[in-house]
Symmetry: C2
């Protein structure tokens, strides 16, 4: 028979536990701080998160059991396939072996449902039947709309107005799954009304949308808030990606030399990387030289050019302070097409691991990511999301280095989502209308000057 | 462990042979006829099709081997998963068991690559490095663009102008896979120029686009033509769907009582149904009461309201005459959103089987199909293409009959594609802007009056 293309697992191979990297970190994670500079009490967070998720957020347990109902919902698309990119290898003429985990097979088209589903379920268990959230380009809003529908949890999404107007089809998807979607800023929240009073034509921003969603959740006892990245429990849920990938690679007797994933808030990278870091932490010899590379855009180079400091998680300073790599909470990144990577900060866990040199980071420019995405699509068929193109770019670059050096490395990247709702970006790329952005030094310096003073 | 959701196969389970129903038909298929009323000679067809595909078109062999290179390309997405729709069953409260084969997992998002890939490969084998084709909404154009890219075959797509303008993202996909896409009518063919001379503002039609694509293939020695449905070899390639589904159902000890699939040109229905018809032909007792239902729109009810007659395959009378159910080749169906089902005729093989009462057909109205699609998406996650919603509608109707009667039937439908590029149609449905079309009696009567006279 011919050589394999995909490594598949059975539904019984869906992980039974999420992996919590906190148990294996050399130093404990630093706490989030309130406006008073003191650690935020869990009680304060209970206004918008259920206790069961807060427990996960604070947990130091290495393994956290995945409830059966969540595993059953995962079965709608998991285990996701692991592909060997034989046609891409051939196109590149590289001696490297390239593998990718395809998270675009979820109904919402990205890795986001891996955490949306548990978040909806845990809220339901806590007696919460209503969730509010924000979404920019719509990937996260879609995931939560889908997940809410699975468990009978109503979902309200504040969608950044410019995306609501320009990307109507992700809004349509959310509505198909029964979610309410509003163009943010709305007149339904004080935060929205304040903005509209100042600027009736406001096109919105992720920061404003977060403020609206959090305000609604904080103000209504029946409603909680859900976030699609950054937080510990979100990264925890995403580890199903890496846990499956390890099992799939083991099935064919492989282990990666390097792993690549796009990194915005960090959940995509953490999802595939953390379970392999566990091997390193355990002193597994095969992981000794393993390198884990977070890939970010040159226009929003949080890990590679930011500072490691306490900063707000949102643009408006509403959230607790988190210790993370940041470009400053009021840094406004250029309008690149990988909307999921335009975040001024990074998850505290990813930040700390980077700070402690357990992981690496690299920044890649926009045009080169689309070039990589098109090369991948022509070789492998699947059209990747612009975010995913970042991981592909870095992986191709390494494969080309292998070609030059003759090293037959084993490379793995996370194909975090398909690009079916991003074809307008590909159009602009083909039309020569996309540009690269330099490192926005002045904007970063200006926003870093506004970092909150702590301690 | 929890109950299964998907039945998966290994890549080694991809069928080694396509199933040719011609070998099992009670009567041989009727030949296509030329303008002189005599059977069309294969030689004439060699101007636009390669000999190896024409051999398949004419073959009476029951099993036709699938070359290894095609099976390797199939591995990019096959075997496709078979799902048990447990959440849909629960939402309906039916005792019926509902299964669906998910063909939307292909890179192009539908079942069409099952035949696009072999068509590109066989042309390449025949020394042809260039294919022309037409596409309406873009499903077929995407599939051929993807397939051409796999084997280094250049693809030129004539895309109906109104779709080219209104559905730009399928065009973007084709371009991502390297195809040339032109809004038809163009000034590059005589057929196009003639139309433009009469109507410079022509929005195009599938008939015109076919004429352009065929003209180009007929006029250039280096170029062949490829068609996405209707022809025998196209239906043959699609039988991988049903062959896999049989193996998947056998794995869990199931056999369907009824099978549903949307039916436009017929390849989608044939793909899932024909391999089960083989069981009936072989006298297999478990297939004795099996019912196979082709589902079409009430607005274009070819099998349920058409006549069985010789007619042209295209709107302009360019093709040979085929014996089929038809509403008349110049019948222009209402602009429903399931563009893939707006075909005036039906494949000769499906038509003959329907004429001989080996299969059934039912027509469903547009609004009810979207209602079914939304119900399916909310239960199962996947957002189906408008074409696929037709099969879902008929299957849900049967499941509801089972609920009334208490019969625990086993139902299977073909989820032929996802709806990611059809969200504008869902928008119109939610906005109450979609309408049902009555059976277009007068238009059908008018076009049937123009049926070519044969024999």
């Amino acid at each position: 028979m011919t050589e394999f293309t995909k490594v598949l697992l059975e539904e019984s191979d869906i992980p039974t536990h999420w992996y919590n990297i906190v148990a294996d970190m050399p130093n404990p994670p630093l706490p989030s701080l309130g406006p008073d500079g003191l650690p935020v009490s869990p009680e304060r967070m209970l206004a918008i998160f259920p206790g069961n998720l807060l427990e996960q957020e604070m947990s130091g347990e290495r393994w956290i059991a995945i409830p059966d109902e969540i595993r059953r919902a995962y079965q709608l698309w998991r285990p996701s396939p692991l592909f060997r990119a034989r046609r891409l290898e051939q196109a590149l003429g590289t001696p490297a072996k390239i593998y990718y985990k395809h998270e675009g097979v979820s109904p919402a088209g990205s890795h986001k449902p891996n955490t949306a589903v548990p978040q909806a379920w845990y809220n339901k268990q806590a007696g919460i039947n209503r969730l509010s959230t924000e979404t920019g380009a719509g990937q996260w809003g879609c995931a939560l709309a889908f997940a809410g529908q699975m468990f009978g949890v109503a979902v309200r999404v504040y969608m950044v107005k410019v995306s609501y107007d320009q990307k109507p089809f992700r809004r349509s998807m959310m509505q198909t799954w029964g979610a309410e979607v509003f163009a943010s800023p709305t007149d339904m929240t004080q935060a929205g009304r304040d903005i509209l009073a100042r600027d009736p034509e406001s096109q919105g921003s992720l920061g404003i949308a977060i403020s609206e969603a959090v305000e609604e959740a904080a103000g209504r006892a029946d409603t909680n808030y859900a976030l699609g990245s950054v937080l510990n429990h979100v990264l925890l849920h995403q580890t199903v990606i890496g846990l499956e990938a390890k099992k799939q690679l083991a099935k064919i007797g492989e282990y990666p030399d390097m792993i690549f994933a796009p990194c915005g808030g960090g959940s995509n990278f953490a999802g595939i990387a953390f379970p392999f870091l566990a091997d390193k932490a355990a002193g597994d010899p095969k992981a000794k030289n393993l390198r884990l590379v977070a890939v970010e855009p040159t226009s929003c180079p949080t890990l590679t050019r930011g500072v490691y400091a306490y900063d707000f998680g949102d643009a408006t300073g509403y959230t607790p302070l988190m210790k993370m790599y940041t470009l400053g909470h009021d840094f406004m990144p250029p309008g690149i097409h990988a909307g999921g990577l335009r975040y001024h900060g990074d998850s505290p866990l990813v930040s700390q691991l980077f700070h402690e040199k357990l992981i690496e980071a690299v920044a890649v420019p926009q045009l080169a990511t689309f070039e990589a995405g098109v090369q991948f699509a022509r070789a492998e068929g699947i059209i990747p999301a612009p975010e995913s193109c970042h991981g592909i770019r870095a992986c191709i670059d390494e494969a080309l280095r292998c070609k030059a050096s003759g090293e037959p490395k084993t490379l793995l990247f996370n194909l975090s989502g398909h690009g079916h709702f991003d074809m307008a970006s590909y159009d602009r790329y083909f039309a020569g209308k996309l540009e690269d952005y330099e490192y926005p030094r002045e904007a970063v310096e200006a926003s870093l000057a506004h970092l909150p003073k702590v301690g």
